[in-house]
C-alpha cells in the first residue's frame, strides 16, 4: 500500500478519536449547564458564558489532536 495512504488513514483515525473525547466532554458540560439553568433560570446568562469558556477549553485539547493529524497529512 502507498505510504501516504497509510499516514492519511492513521491520521483520520487519530482525528476521530480526539473528536470522541471532545464530544464526551462538551456533552457533559452541556448537560450540566442545562441542569444548572433548570435549577436557577435567573442565572442563565452567567452559566452560559461559563459553559462556553469550559467548552472552549475542552475543544482546545481535542483540536490539538486534529491539528496533529492534519500536519501528518500536509507534511
Amino acid at each position: 500500500m502507498d505510504a501516504n495512504l497509510i499516514y492519511a488513514s492513521l491520521a483520520a483515525i487519530g482525528a476521530g478519536l480526539s473528536v470522541i473525547g471532545a464530544g464526551l466532554g462538551i456533552g457533559k458540560i452541556g448537560s450540566s449547564a442545562m441542569d444548572a439553568i433548570a435549577r436557577q433560570p435567573e442565572a442563565s446568562g452567567k452559566i452560559q458564558s461559563a459553559m462556553i469558556i469550559a467548552a472552549a477549553l475542552v475543544e482546545g485539547a481535542a483540536l490539538f489532536g486534529v491539528v496533529t493529524a492534519l500536519l501528518t497529512v500536509f507534511k
Partner: protein
C-alpha cells in the same frame, strides 16, 4: 415582521456567494479533467486555505486571473520583484546572479535552467531563501486594519454627548459594551479593567472582522493561518506575563497551601501551563476557522466529484447552512479568544491579600 424584500435579497446574496465559490472550483476541475487526472478535492481545498504570493480571482493554471503581489526575499541583499514574473510557476526569475522558481507557493533557489532536486516522495529539496513577501494574508491584514481604523475613528467622532449619530456605530456599540460588561469587568475587576480594555477590544474586533471577511469567496483565510493566530496569542502571552504580580509567580513556582513535596511536583506542571495556555488560544482559532473552510469547500467539491449538476441541489443548501454556522463561529471564536485572554490576564493580576496562609 421582516419585509419580503429583505428575505429575497438575502437569498439572492447567499446564492451569488456560493456561485462565486463554485465558479472558483469549476475552473480548477475543468483544467484537471483536461489532463485526464482524477479530480483531487484535497489538493483543491488546500490550495484555497493556504497563503499565496498572488491574489487568485478566477481561472486556473496559465489562464488564471490573479492580482500580483510583491515578493521580498532576503538573499544576498534584499530582492524585490512582483510575483507575476513567475508566470504561475512557469518562469525562472533572475536577480543578481540568483535564480528563483515557485512551486506550491514556496520559493526555491534553482540553477539557470530551473532543475529540481527531489527526494524520495518527489518533493523539491532545493534551498529556500528567507521569504518576507507581502502575501495575500499580509494584504488582507493591512486592509482589515485600515477598515477597523476607518470604522472606529468615525465612530469615535460620531458621539454627540452620550448618543451615537452614525447607523453602523449604533450596531457596533452593543458589541463594545458587551466586551466591557461581560468580558473585561467580570474577569479583571472594576479597578483594573480600564487598563486592558483597549487591548481586549482590539483583539476582539480584529479577529471578528478577519473571521467574517474570510468567509467571502476568494478572500484570504487570515485567522485560519497559524502564523497570524500565533502572533495574536504571543501578544496575550506577553501581556499576561509582563503584567503578572508577585502572587502569580509565587503560585507557579512555590504554591502556597500544599505540602512541600507536592510543591516540587506542581512547579514544572504550572510552568508548562504558562506556555500551553497561549498555545491553545493559537491552535483553537486556527483549527476552528480552517475546519469551517474545509467543510464548506468539501460540500462544493462534491459537485465536481460526482460530475453532476443535480448534486448542487444538495450541496449548496448544506454549504449555505455551514456558512451560516460559520458566521456564528466567527463571533464565538472572537468572543472566546477575548474572554480567555481576559481570564488569563485576570489570573495574573489578581490580588491574593484576602488569603491568609
Amino acid at each position: 415582521m421582516i419585509p419580503k424584500r429583505t428575505i429575497f435579497f438575502s437569498i439572492l446574496l447567499s446564492l451569488v456567494c456560493h456561485w462565486g465559490y463554485t465558479k472558483h472550483e469549476s475552473q480548477d476541475a475543468v483544467v484537471l479533467g483536461a489532463d485526464k487526472e482524477r479530480f483531487d478535492p484535497a489538493k483543491v481545498i488546500i490550495e484555497h486555505i493556504i497563503d499565496s504570493h498572488e491574489w487568485h480571482l478566477w481561472g486556473d493554471g496559465d489562464k488564471a486571473v490573479t492580482i500580483p503581489l510583491p515578493v521580498i526575499l532576503l538573499d544576498n541583499g534584499i530582492q524585490i520583484f512582483m510575483s507575476s514574473e513567475f508566470a504561475h510557476g512557469n518562469k525562472i526569475v533572475q536577480r543578481s546572479g540568483n535564480f528563483y522558481k515557485i512551486f506550491h507557493d514556496k520559493i526555491y533557489k534553482t540553477n539557470a535552467s530551473g532543475d529540481w532536486t527531489v527526494d524520495a516522495l518527489r518533493n523539491p529539496i532545493n534551498k529556500q531563501p528567507l521569504d518576507f513577501s507581502i502575501t495575500k494574508s499580509v494584504v488582507m491584514i493591512l486592509l482589515s486594519a485600515l477598515l477597523l481604523c476607518m470604522i472606529f475613528f468615525r465612530m469615535a467622532r460620531s458621539y454627540k454627548g452620550y448618543s451615537m449619530t452614525w447607523q453602523l456605530g449604533k450596531i457596533l456599540e452593543p458589541l463594545v459594551l458587551f466586551v466591557r460588561n461581560e468580558v473585561a469587568i467580570p474577569n479583571l475587576g472594576h479597578e483594573r479593567y480600564k487598563r486592558y480594555l483597549p487591548l481586549l477590544l482590539t483583539i476582539f474586533f480584529f479577529i471578528l472582522i478577519n473571521n467574517l471577511l474570510g468567509l467571502l469567496p476568494s478572500a484570504p483565510n487570515v485567522t485560519g493561518n497559524i502564523s497570524v493566530t500565533l502572533v495574536l496569542a504571543t501578544t496575550t502571552f506577553l501581556v499576561v506575563n509582563l503584567s503578572a504580580n508577585k502572587a502569580y509567580w509565587k503560585h507557579i513556582f512555590w504554591m502556597p497551601g500544599v505540602p512541600i513535596p507536592v510543591r516540587f511536583l506542581l512547579a514544572p506542571i504550572e510552568l508548562i501551563g504558562v506556555f500551553i495556555r497561549p498555545l491553545t488560544l493559537c491552535i483553537r482559532l486556527f483549527a476552528n476557522m480552517t475546519a469551517g473552510h474545509i467543510v464548506i469547500l468539501s460540500f462544493i467539491c462534491l459537485i465536481f466529484m460526482f460530475k453532476n449538476i443535480f448534486t448542487a441541489g444538495f450541496s449548496v443548501p448544506f454549504a449555505l447552512f455551514i456558512s451560516l454556522l460559520e458566521v456564528l463561529v466567527a463571533f464565538l471564536q472572537a468572543f472566546i479568544f477575548t474572554a480567555l485572554s481576559a481570564l488569563f490576564i485576570g489570573i495574573a493580576v489578581e490580588d491574593h491579600e484576602h488569603e491568609i496562609r
